[in-house]
Amino acid sequence: MSSKVIQAMYTDDDVLMSAVKKVRQENHHIEEVYTPFPVHGLDKAMGLEPTRLAITAFMYGCVGLAVASTMMYYIMIVDWPQNIGGKPSFSFLENMPAFVPIMFEMTVFFAAHLMVITFYMRSKLWPFKEAENPDPRTTDDHFLMEVAVHGGNEDELTALLEATGATEIKVTEKKH
């Protein structure tokens, strides 16, 4: 399936922000915005839903904590109790302070790595994937807004985008 989109180039993030707000006011659907760096407030201006990555991070952290606790319990208490520095070696609770750094590290490890993997999966990124970026200049100093074209509103949209300060406007077929 392919659809027609208008790609408008901007050279300044403030101009882009006001353009996004204007286009949304006119009830056009913004497919995507490509920027060379994160623009603060752009997600809100585009009306994107807040990310749920934070919730997954919390859950992954809990998994990490549970894994670390179980692991330390099995290794140090059940499987091979050792007398280190005269510490009671048969009680998890009384040995717990020594395990806290491991629990903490595993919590962070699980949260961080699984969150990155989730992010890759959610944004459909994997090694050797062909870039979706329509114009290499958006990785340098240009901003690109992609607006969907429906039926006969192409000219109207072009005029609107020009009025918002776009430096280049291009209509293309987008492959999916």
């Binding site: 407030g41 934070a54 919390f58 520095g85 005269g86 510490k87 302070p97 020594a98 806290v100 750094p101």
Partner: protein
Amino acid sequence: MVLGMLLVVWSFASTPSTVEEMKAQEASHGHGGHGEKASHDDGKTAHHGDQKTDAHATDAHAAEAGHHDSAKHDEHKLTQLKNKPWAAIYIAAFFFMMISLGVLAFYAIQRAAQAGWSPVLFRVMEGITAYIIPGTISIIILLILCLPSLHLNHLFHWMDPDLVTPGHDHFDKLTYGKKGWLNPTGFIIRAVIYSSIWIAYRVISRKLSLRQDESSDNSNFKKNFRLAAVFLVLFLISESMMSWDWIMSFDHHWFSTLFGWYVFASMFVSGITVIALVTIYLKSKGLLPYVNDSHLHDLAKFMFGVSIFWTYLWFSQFMLIWYSNIPEEVTYFITRIEDYNLPFFGMIALNLIFPLLILMNSDYKRLNWIIVIAGVVILFGHYIDVFNMVMPATVGTHWSLGMPEIGGVLFFLGLFIFVVFTTLTKAPLLAKRNPFIEESKQFHY
């Protein structure tokens, strides 16, 4: 301005009421004590200094009537009980001084970093740091009252001259070795030096900040920036030494190398919490129109982050000592776990688990009532933290959260509120000529 005046009247009203409470509390103790005084005259009243300690001592003694252990043990217990109201007042005085000092450090960091988000809160911070002057003065007065020559109390046990007299029954080699640092003269001189550094920065910085409002260029702002950088260096040194002197020397055989940081984390998080609470209060009165959710959100992030930082330091200190299990070090935690189990572990729930869970959600950091609840819990938790640092070495097992503690807190709370809100009325609440004020007004996340 009218609202500001109301605040002053309100804070005036709050101070006397707490003082009265203090009086009432002391009177009741005195009464209870005198009732029993006649029946007990076994020489233990020899240590009585002024009337106040006298009342407490006899009261304490009365409470222990019927328990006749060895005379030495009684003597020891009596000393500890006599210390109790002093320790309670000391904790409260230190706690509020510490809040003010934490805010001063936070303020200096904002100045030195030339932060863009916070200038709308500068006047609030300056108001809170005004308490550094009465706060440190009351601490120094308490320290002077602790001097052994006055015989009022035995808060700082190392001050006992017997410990450092070679050949004496109570001669203590370890304390003798530390004599170069731990001696009453140097102690008071150092206290005055620390306080002067903090008060000097606070007074000069406030003056420059007010002058900036009226000036036509940014020279005052730049001076304040340089001053903040110098102060932060001096602050870290003086704060660290202060924590050895004013807290760690209670346990004069014990030492911890990260104690200064640990106390700093505690004061920093309490200070930031108080900034947030005062800001919410003033905003609810409509006095801070430029402070928005995002400013509070940032303060709440600091509360969250520094709470974790505090726990990190607390645990680092605890785990190393627990693991190595060296007798002279580990006694510190053994007394706390055996005799102070509830406050010691309860503090972790209050200072880590509760703020961690409640402030983790991004949206909750913008809700005033959540911040207020978290703030009150954090402040209580850090009061308990100071309590745990001071009480075990001064009153031993005879701790409680009773009238002396509540009275002390209320007294210094009243003084704190009075000083802070009086200062807040003295200057416009917006630092209007700060070069970053526009950025701060527009700040949003």
